[in-house]
């Protein structure tokens, strides 16, 4: 790990959204034939991944990812190095579900220690209700278990702060970052800024490269967006209202019971 360069930027938190999870598919003669060399008892092919939301590049903050699979799988610790613009992917086959430890290694500029996430590999349709399971079964046998997560960088080091707060908006980054070349971090940062100097391209309501934005609307294959967020917030608010109702009900009940208990106790004292 590189020694810390510069100081931490106090009181600042920067986040980056990303998606991780697994996609599994059973072997099938027609749609997903078993490739040669796969053991007899393997029933599914699956992929575990870590990627940017809306498939944007995240290698500017995430250098490599270690996937720790079940011990029974040969060579069960896999290191995937970041390739610019590509997600961190690992394809495997197997028959059982288990927990995958996903260890994220950050870029050297960050000078941060790696962090671990855990994800349960899903091969079979799951869900709390039967409908959910059924919906999953209909999805071409594909079992999707994706999770949205936000990486928080609390008080990043100055060079990393610079990396995280430039590049998305072309106008602001170029002139200022060149001024900074005098400091120690200048060399690395400058080179990076250069190839991001060009006008960022993005779709309608999409996200900018190197930004912390979340797409405005859902698209096929991209279930995480502001839309989903709003739906979830609404759901939680409704739940809160429900809790308040229950709370009042329970409060009444408790008050009644207390009264009753007092009466009983008084009675007992008399007797």
């Amino acid at each position: 790990m590189a020694p810390p360069t510069g100081k931490r930027v106090k009181g600042v938190q920067i986040f980056r959204p990303f998606v991780y999870g697994t996609t599994a598919k059973p072997f099938d003669e027609k749609t997903n034939p078993k490739p040669p060399g796969v053991p007899e008892d393997h029933t599914h092919s699956w992929t575990v991944f870590v990627k940017g939301i809306d498939d944007v590049d995240i290698t500017y903050w995430l250098r490599r990812v270690q996937f720790k699979l079940h011990e029974s799988i040969p060579n069960h610790v896999r290191m995937i190095e970041g390739e610019k613009g590509k997600p961190f992917l690992l394809h495997e086959t197997g028959w059982g579900e288990f927990e995958i430890a996903i260890k994220l290694y950050y870029v050297p500029e960050s000078a941060e220690k790696p962090q671990t996430l855990y994800h349960h590999l899903r091969l079979h349709p799951y869900g709390r209700t039967d409908e959910e399971k059924e919906a999953m079964r209909l999805n071409g046998g594909q079992v999707i278990s994706w999770a949205y997560e936000e990486q928080l960088f609390n008080e990043p080091y100055e060079p990393f702060y610079e990396v995280l707060t430039s590049g998305a908006l072309s106008s602001s980054s170029s002139s200022l970052s060149h001024n900074r070349t005098g400091s120690k971090s200048g060399g690395g940062g400058k080179g990076k800024d250069k190839d991001h100097g060009k006008q960022p391209v993005r779709s309608e309501g999409g996200v900018l490269e190197k930004s912390a934005m979340i797409p405005l609307t859902n698209r096929p294959g991209l279930p995480f967006s502001r839309e989903t967020e709003q739906v979830e917030i609404k759901k939680l608010q409704e739940a809160l209202v429900k809790v308040e109702e229950l709370m009042n009900k329970t409060k009444d009940e408790v008050a009644r019971k207390e009264k009753r208990l007092k009466e009983l106790k008084a009675e007992a004292a008399k007797a």
Partner: protein, 622 residues
């Protein structure tokens, strides 16, 4: 003409060139291209060099009827203009070149010629085949922002504008395609009086608010405000594409006051007479001259002050009595002189007042090294710098005091020494100090885009957003965790948040707190329930004991019952110690108060049996 020809004419013998001549001739003529349309003689005139004449090839018009096609057919076709508001009622006709496809078959061509005589009804018969005017596409309508009542209530409220007036403005903007002078000209908003007053007494118009006079800037400001806000409502700023964002920013930054001033200036400029214009020009020139003069004057004055400045002599001069001291003083003065010169170039921005000039030069007097150092270190690090100096010992004067110039010699000597020691600290402070200053300020927009937020207290290092929620769980004991999970499942909250963004996690934390309270309350309720059960069992035990004791105790017992059933009406009248009595009473209360819940009923029930059955019923309900 070649020399050989001359010889030939003069009959001179061709002494040496008899052989090569004919061959040469053949050579020159052979490759020459035979230009057409040029006489051979003329061509020969050129001799060895071919004449550089490009023959003009003249093309004549082809014969007119060489490829005779039937003349293009034109027909009088009727058309409509979809840009008209009359929905195609007006049908006009125009001549159009007949095209192959879509045109009626050629045998109809004959009556096509007679078509002009027909009336447009024929065109109407064709109905949908009527073509649209090619100019219809130029009828573009501006799109004015749309909003509904809710959006207006939440975003567009204004003390200056009512909703009706805003509607009216947008209507006008739509109608006149955002041509502001016209909109302003036609703007005649009459606020409608409140309807109930209208109905009550139509004559009273005293309360009708007078229409406010609106300037064009007012109108524009309101329109841009509405447009910008609606734009932001439809799409948050950070998702806008660049041109969209530019438009948004422009509309947001519209400053009516500035616009008004600009127009005023323009008006004034255009309204002035020739003399005034000339005067203005001359005034401008004058100002320029005055400014230049003051600058020069200031420069001179500064220079003068610098020269007037002299080293103070109120400190002891013992250090200069030795020859070495004198030498040092001389050197110091020389270097000071140099630095002065440099300074006069460097700092035109220095203070011109004497108060400003003196301490400045006094500091520079105290030694060039110090000065250089203080330049090297950023101003913000001066505290640090002086700390370092203070630590270096009291032998050397603190250079920040202006009166220390007399000790400059010693300082200079010491400064040379200390340079080496200080260099590390200065370089360190120089590298550390500029960083916080240089960190650029992010605009609000950038902060949003890059996901930057500021917090009071932060544990440094990377974490995940979801970790907060994990912590909520892990801070509870195993049993509590179970209870919370069950409670959340009851509320149909998924076990893992779909999108743990900042807003969602915040919302979840609120919910979490509420659910925690609920779970605690339920626990309390369960505890009370247990205690009630215990007390009731005790009472049942007592009553049984009493029943065994005999009926003479009955009155006593009844009193007790009355105390318990304080709100049960007519309780004390039935003075019997029989067990069935409370049962019957309970039935009565149930009958008279059907609205009371099971809990209330069970409270009044005296017998253990009925109360337990009630309780079990309640539990089922739960």
């Amino acid at each position: 003409m070649a020399s050989s020809d001359v010889r030939d004419v003069l009959n001179l013998p061709s002494d040496h060139s008899a052989g090569p001549r004919p061959s040469k001739k053949r050579k020159t003529t052979a490759p020459r291209p035979n230009l057409k349309g040029l006489a051979r003689e003329v061509q020969n005139l050129g001799g060895d060099n071919p004449i550089a004449i490009v023959p003009e090839v003249s093309f004549f018009k082809k014969r007119r009827f060489a490829s005779r096609k039937p003349a293009a057919r034109w027909e009088l076709r009727s058309f409509i203009n979809s840009a008209r508001a009359d929905n195609g009622a007006l049908v006009l006709r125009h001549w159009k070149c007949k095209t192959e496809h879509g045109a009626p078959p050629p045998e109809h061509m004959q009556d096509g010629e007679s078509r002009p005589a027909e009336d447009p009804v024929d065109g109407g018969q064709k109905g949908d085949t009527l073509e649209d005017s090619s100019f219809a596409k130029f009828n573009v309508k501006v799109s004015v922002p749309q909003y509904n009542d809710d959006q207006y209530q939440s975003n567009l409220q204004s003390s200056e504008w009512t909703k009706e007036e805003t509607d009216y403005l947008l209507e006008l903007a739509q109608e006149y395609d955002l041509r502001w002078p016209i909109i302003w000209d036609r703007y005649e908003f009459a606020p409608t009086p409140p309807p109930q007053e209208d109905g009550a007494n139509g004559t009273s118009t005293a309360v009708v608010p007078a229409p406010k006079p609106r300037t064009m800037e007012d109108l524009k400001a309101r329109y841009y405000e509405v447009a910008a806000k609606m734009m932001a409502v439809q799409k948050p700023a950070q998702y806008m594409t660049r041109p969209e964002f530019e438009l948004y920013e422009m509309m947001q930054n519209f400053n009516p006051e500035q616009e008004r001033k600009r127009k005023e200036f323009a008006l004034n400029t255009m309204a002035r007479s020739k003399d005034e214009a000339r005067e203005e020009e001359s005034l401008l020139l004058e100002i320029k001259r005055i400014l230049a003069r003051t600058e020069r004057f200031n420069e001179e004055r500064r220079e003068l002050y610098r020269r007037l400045d002299y080293p103070a002599t109120d400190s002891d001069i013992n250090s200069f009595k030795s020859s070495a001291g004198l030498q040092a003083l001389l050197q110091n003065l020389m270097s000071t002189d140099k630095s002065k010169k440099r300074k006069s170039i460097l700092g035109p921005g220095d203070g011109v007042s004497p108060g400003g000039a003196v301490p400045n030069s006094a500091v520079s007097e105290s030694g060039p090294h110090n000065r250089r150092e203080s330049i090297a270190a950023a101003p913000s690090s001066s505290r640090r710098d002086s700390d370092v100096r203070g630590a270096r010992g009291s032998a050397e004067p603190i250079p920040t005091t202006a009166t220390s110039s007399s000790a400059a010699a010693a300082a200079a000597a010491a400064a040379n020494k200390k340079k080496g020691g200080a260099s590390t600290s200065t370089s360190a402070s120089a590298s550390a100090a500029p960083a916080p200053q240089e960190r650029r300020k992010l605009s609000a927009h950038e902060e949003q885009v890059y996901g930057v937020s500021y917090h009071e207290r932060l544990g440094s290092g990377p974490t995940f957003r979801y970790e907060r929620i994990n912590k909520l769980y892990s801070h509870k004991s195993g049993q509590q965790q179970m209870r919370m999970t069950n409670a959340l499942a009851e509320l149909d909250v998924p076990p893992r948040l779909v999108m743990p963004t900042a807003a969602v996690t915040a919302q979840f934390e609120v919910l979490w707190a509420a659910v925690t309270a609920l779970v605690d309350l339920r626990k309390l309720s369960d505890k009370l329930e247990g205690e009630i059960k215990l007390e009731e069992a005790k009472r049942a035990e007592r009553e049984r004991a009493r029943g065994v004791l005999g009926s003479h105790d009955g009155g006593d017992d009844n009193e007790n019952g009355a105390g318990a059933d304080a709100d049960a009406e007519g309780g004390p009248d039935q003075a019997d110690g029989i067990k069935e009595e409370p049962e019957a009473e309970k039935d009565k209360t149930d009958g008279t108060r059907p609205g009371s819940s099971g809990g209330g009923a069970h409270k009044r029930s005296a017998s253990v049996l009925s109360s337990t059955s009630d309780k079990s019923a309640k539990r089922q309900k739960k």
